[in-house]
Subunit: 195 residues, 2 copies
Amino acid sequence: MKVSREEAEANHERIIDAASRLFRQKGFDGISVAELMTAAGLTHGGFYGHFKSKDDLVSLAVQHALARSGAAWTSITGDADKPFAALIDRYLDEAKLAEPGPACMFAALAPEGSRRSGDVRRAFADGFRSLTGILAGLLPAALRSRRRAASIAVFSEMVGALVLARSVDDPDLAREILRIVKADLKSRFPDKAAA
Amino acid sequence: MKVSREEAEANHERIIDAASRLFRQKGFDGISVAELMTAAGLTHGGFYGHFKSKDDLVSLAVQHALARSGAAWTSITGDADKPFAALIDRYLDEAKLAEPGPACMFAALAPEGSRRSGDVRRAFADGFRSLTGILAGLLPAALRSRRRAASIAVFSEMVGALVLARSVDDPDLAREILRIVKADLKSRFPDKAAA
DNA sequence: ATTATCTATAGATCTATAGATAATGC
DNA sequence: ATTATCTATAGATCTATAGATAATGC
């Protein structure tokens, strides 16, 4: 059964969306093309009409997830009295321990991404520039030119904390890592007091 | 052909050693049991005389790599005038970008480890406690009880920086990340001036 | 007529096991 | 006689493709 051009495009997006979530949950190699297509409500064989290869989908899924993160960051900080603290609290929320699906692509898959094609690593580089750019805008204006450096140090600490907290099997230790790093980052770069 | 009990034990160690390096290079799923055994100079079928399963080897390889890191950290800092700075400079050395084989198990495989068995995650938790313990001993005594928290913040930033630097396809950006985070950590926690 | 999707399968993996082989160590 | 290692293979994947099907859109 064929579908309309619009519906086919919607299917294309649905595959990317499911993939970007399922890859973060199970790893790039932890979910097969057949499982991905089932998750998107389609059958295995249809995949290769939408994408050149699985690696092609991987790079699109990374791009998609990182673009979404950027939009989420802008939305979270837009509403907040203390934008930097709000972002840190969200990024390192305890819920992120058990639910990597909707969380950060870097924390879930950057090391696996390092071993993949140039297209995938380009998507990570673009996402890195975009997310650290958003972060830099939240840091104290007094830092001036050091804002860029500070944003890179902050993002490293954010990603590292989530990676480490997820890797340990002790839930108390995992929560402690998140708590300590949230406090450390917020004390290093306090938002101006709210108006 | 059989070998002596001692030689068999040496083979056992050689498999773990090769695995701990090759897993960091290619991922837990990126190298097969057959390839691992070839790298150790043995044949495929012999593997299951040494280990219960591939996952069993994974947890031993994680343990082995993290124990080695602890020993290396102690050795690096033992000789140095500025132990903390020496450790940071080594951990975030540019050579670590292209050579994950001998580098940090957390930076290479913690996210993949998060998706594996309890044994593997216990090995990561033990390694985390051990390495942050070493770090805490290098931080200014004046921090007192906050040394533990500081060591966790520092280790997060170290791991995150290496993970991020490796994920981007732009070598200049990767080196910039390492350079910025090295400077940031050393300025936050300067060693006492050498005697 | 075109084309998005589906069914079925080729070909290449990979983990784990069964049974054979040959050197060690009682 | 015991046992570390080897050869060979079963069984279960997984990616990618070929050819059929059926609804869209000229």
